[in-house]
Amino acid sequence: MANSGEITKLLQQGDAKAFEKLLPIVYNELRQLAGALFRGEFRFNHTLQPTALVHEAYLKLIGDSGKISWQNRAHFFGIAARSMRQILVNYAVARKAEKRGGGQTILALDNVVSFFNTQNIEILELHEALEKLAQMDEKQAEIVELKFFGGLTNEETAEVLKISRSTVKREWEMARSWLYRELKK
């Protein structure tokens, strides 16, 4: 597994290749963190932020060197959001195929998946709709991924995508409408 130096380097590199290498690392970290949370083996340092999980993964992977550049953080957020999406989609697929079990991690995710169900959001359907949206408008799909799966605020999303906050807001509103219609069909 890559050490924190390598990870920092990959983050700085910030291209598609680096992204591909980082994705499984962040994915594993997040998945383990979600599990550890529910086994009570792990406690948040700052429990008030929704993105604490992602921050925590970041700290664990890269360390608190005090010099976290905003670009690195932005890249990391992007990867984390993608990971989060992947974790939930994989879980939803496994759940559908009735490969349940796997202990506490599953429970944490179960909560999320079933919460979405009650909100009428099927993770898999949302995922598929998002793929479709990406074909129309990749940026909008990315915004949804960051905001919804990654839990990023409009500011953070703007930061990651290097666009203005008002653009984020505008695109988000349309993406939401498009997805809503798509899922309602």
Partner: protein
């Protein structure tokens, strides 16, 4: 359809243009957007796409806003951290098992019963006070939803933080759609399972409870394939019916499974559940592992009818929906397509392929004639349709009316006068509809059921119950005079008679109850003769047999009682052997056994009775242990312990008798704790105290009898104060005071004792005016008279000694009469002799 077409024609460069216009249009107030689009959007395709997205946007409200995956994980962590291992009221929170729009569900254990429950904490932001107030009002109804396919609501209250919570039976299982997928159920199996779900919903509708939120996560299937409906009635507790609170309404609902009228914020009725059930069925049929998505025309027609956006064109009830599914399963024509001639013919051809091929030639010869008839029919059809539409509207009105009325009555702050007024209005309404619908059997049928439903409303007085029952029964009698062989009407008429019998029983009129049960039984016997395979009729008849046996025994006719019950039991056992009936029936056979034992004990065959009772008690205990949350089994256990106690006492095994009595009291007290407002449980608790008190009186232990009898007095007086027509409770009071008097005399308080004995005698006389043929009650009276006479004859007061002579004579006369009629129990066979001796002794010393 049209929308899909547009989408497919939009490419990513179009999307850019759509985005531009959409974003600007969104900044305009809704009513100015059209004008803006007129000006700025010449392209028809783009415009329609923008409009469609704008519409979606206004509907989407908070969709995906303020919620994210990481946040949810984080929240559930935070929440779990705090609450697991803590106690809410008397429930220990074990773990989180679910989470939904209305809150979080935990597995929780009730300490005193070690009962596993599902405890649902309603999330902050909902109107806690209103929810709790509604809960207090509805509690009794919800607790009465006692059905094997419905998870029972057990308790409710507020958490330390002031959030409402509800406690429900904990059900282990998976959601309906998951279950179907996992077990790869075929269409037939799915439909059969679905029909079971319908049975539960029908049951609840009969109790006038609409679910309102039937969605896959509320329909659980246990590993043995039993469906269990969760959250029955909960949606209503969370939703206000108040019009200005519709916003809250919509948030609690699950939009994907909500009916159009719910989304519009209109009145909810049973049709709402029909719609949601339809959606569930559609989903289940859609997600088969086989991947075949094409449904047959009939099934599609059934779904279309269930899912019709207009209530009046939907199935009128879940029963109709379920019935059509049954017809579909059996290859019969369904009502959803009954109007199409081609359809009927097709169905006929399919079912009778052989006959048809032989008849083809004749058919062809006749076809000219058929076409002519068909054309004439077409003209008449327009007339008919108009009439039917009107009738249908009326019908919907009446069935949803009963539900609304029920709610209205419950929501009243307890004023009897106001309740009575409302009930009068409701009856007037039904009366008007009944007059208007003359000549429309379907509507009349529904109305009659409406009257039956009204008669079953809680807390209405017995006189009103009777009136409504009479009206319902009269309608069925009239319907039957036109269609004497209609099985459904016959069964409904029998139901009416059974309800009337129950009413007479509560009134304390045993012979009145008997005559209604005999009518009911005769009808059902003839139904069974016509349709030996009619399972519902069989179950109905078994219930009537059960009541008949019980009433006959009350009248002292032990041998007849035994014969009826044996006949019914043997028939039931044969059906089980033939594999024709399910578990539930087996359970009810046990009920028949119980009546059989009562008769055997009465007739003096204690040995056989004890053997049967012990075997059955073991069976029921096992069932109760396997289903700790099913109160039916605990109720059965109560009855068995009581029955055993009585037989053991007669058999001289006093210690064991007492143990059983105590066990029965504990069971009933726990049931009452779960539903403190349930009058039935209240009565049974009082009754059990009486039984224990009586036992101690017989054992000469007045001190031990007193607390039980006092408890019984308090409870029964309360019940009687609410409705003095309840002769049954008057009879309980007569017995309680009689025993209380004897107990007081035994502990050296003769004056108080005598007062209670005299009060008891007054009650006995009053109750017997209405219930002269209740043999068991009369023998209890004779016993009380005798005990009173024994006390009075020792009085220094000559007036009281004369009174002693009168009561001893009366007692002796009752015993002689019972003996002459041959309705004495085996245990009492010496009593006439003893009473006669007592009387002659008294006369000898008081010459």
């Amino acid at each position: 359809m049209a929308e899909n077409e547009i989408n497919s024609r939009i490419n990513s460069s179009d999307y850019e243009r759509v985005k531009e216009i959409f974003s600007v249009a969104l900044d305009f107030p809704a009513d100015e957007r059209q004008a803006f689009l007129d000006k700025k959007c010449p392209d028809e395709i783009i415009r329609r796409e923008v409009e469609s997205l704008l519409a979606a946007n206004s509907e989407a409200e908070d969709f995906l806003n303020n919620v994210s995956a990481v946040q949810l994980i984080h929240d559930s962590y935070n929440h779990n951290e705090k609450i697991i291992g803590q106690k809410i009221d008397k429930y220990l929170i074990k773990k989180e098992i679910g989470r939904g729009g209305m809150g979080v569900v935990y597995l929780a254990e009730r300490e005193d019963f070690q009962q596993q429950t599902a405890l649902k904490v309603i999330k902050r932001g909902m109107d806690s006070d209103a929810i709790l107030e509604r809960f207090a009002r509805e509690r009794q109804i919800l607790a009465s939803l006692n059905h094997p396919f419905i998870a029972r609501l057990l308790d409710g209250g507020t958490t330390g933080e002031g959030l409402p919570f509800f406690v429900m039976e904990y059900v282990e299982g998976i959601s309906l759609d998951e279950y179907c997928q996992k077990n790869d159920l075929g269409e037939k199996e799915k439909l059969e399972l679905f029909r079971k779900i319908c049975v539960a919903v029908i049951f609840a509708h009969q109790k006038l409870v609409v679910h309102r939120d039937l969605k896959p996560s509320n329909i659980i299937v246990t590993p043995d394939g039993t469906p269990k409906l969760l959250d029955f009635g909960i949606a209503k507790l969370l939703n206000s019916t108040d019009a200005n609170e519709t916003q809250t309404n919509q948030r609690v609902l699950t939009p994907a499974y909500a009916s159009p009228e719910q989304i519009r914020g209109e009145t909810v009725s049973t049709a709402t559940d029909v719609y949601s059930l339809g959606l569930n069925l559609q989903k289940v049929l859609d997600t088969g592992m086989t991947g075949e998505r094409k449904l047959s025309g009939d099934l599609q027609a059934i779904l279309t009818t269930a899912l019709h956006p207009e209530i009046t064109r939907r199935y009128g009830s879940v029963e109709n929906f379920s019935e059509d599914l049954r017809r579909y399963l059996e290859g019969l024509p369904i009502s959803a397509r009954k109007d199409s001639l081609g359809y009927r013919t097709g169905k006929f051809l399919k079912r009778n392929a052989v006959i048809v091929s032989a008849l083809t030639i004749i058919f062809l010869l006749l076809i000219g004639g058929i076409l002519l008839v068909w054309r004439q029919g077409k003209i008449a059809e327009q007339e008919r349709e108009r009439a039917e539409r009107r009738a249908e509207n009326l019908r919907k009105l009446s069935s949803s009316f009963a539900i609304e009325l029920h709610d209205a009555i419950l929501n009243l702050p307890g004023s009897l006068a106001a309740r009575k007024l409302l009930l009068t209005r409701a009856v007037e309404q039904l009366d008007t509809l009944a007059a208007e619908s003359e000549g429309n059997p379907q509507l009349q049928d529904e109305l009659a059921q409406g009257y039956y439903n009204l008669s079953e409303l809680p807390n209405i007085n017995l006189a009103d119950v009777e009136q409504n029952l009479n009206k319902g029964v009269a309608i069925y009698q009239k319907l039957l005079s036109a269609e004497p062989k209609n099985v459904e009407y016959r069964q409904q008429l029998a139901k009416g008679f059974t309800l009337q019998a129950n009413l007479q029983k509560v009134r304390g009129d045993t012979s009145g109850a008997l005559s209604f049960l005999e009518k009911s039984s005769a009808i059902l016997e003839s139904v069974m003769a016509d349709e030996p395979e009619n399972f519902e009729g069989r179950a109905q008849l078994r219930d009537v047999d059960f009541d008949l046996a019980s009433i006959l025994l009350t009248m002292g006719r032990g041998q007849e009682s035994l014969e009826i019950i044996r006949k019914s039991r043997i028939l039931g056992e044969e059906l089980i052997k033939a594999g024709k009936i399910n578990d539930d029936f087996e359970q009810m056979l046990i009920g028949l056994h119980f009546e059989e034992c009562k008769s055997l004990t009465y007739l003096g065959d204690y040995k056989t009775s004890l053997e049967l009772l012990r075997a059955d008690l073991e069976f029921v205990s096992k069932k109760a242990a396997a289903h700790p949350n099913d109160t039916r089994f605990r109720y059965e256990l109560w009855a068995y312990h009581r029955g055993l106690a009585l037989t053991l006492e007669r058999n001289g095994d006093y210690q064991a008798a007492l143990e059983n009595l105590q066990a029965s009291l504990e069971l009933m007290q726990n049931l009452l704790k779960l539903s403190p407002d349930d009058v039935g449980y209240q009565r049974n608790t009082s009754f059990t105290h009486l039984a224990i008190g009586q036992f101690f009186v017989h054992q000469n232990q007045g001190e031990k009898a007193l607390p039980h009898l006092r408890q019984a007095v308090e409870m029964s007086e309360k019940i009687f104060a609410k409705d003095e027509e309840k002769g049954e409770t008057l009879e309980d009071l007569a017995r309680i005071y009689g025993n209380l008097g004897q107990a007081l005399i035994k502990v050296g308080q003769p004056e108080e004792g005598l007062k209670d004995l005299r009060r008891s005698i007054v009650f006995y006389q009053k109750a017997l005016q209405k219930d002269p043929e209740n043999a068991i009650f009369r023998r209890d009276f004779a016993e009380t008279l005798e005990q009173t006479g024994i006390v009075l004859q020792k009085s220094p007061n000559s007036y009281e000694r004369r009174e002693a002579g009168e009561v001893l004579a009366q007692s002796s006369q009752i015993w002689q009469d019972l003996q002459a009629k041959g309705i004495l129990s085996f245990a009492d066979k010496e009593q006439p002799e003893i009473a006669a001796q007592n009387l002659s002794q008294f006369e000898a010393t008081n010459k």
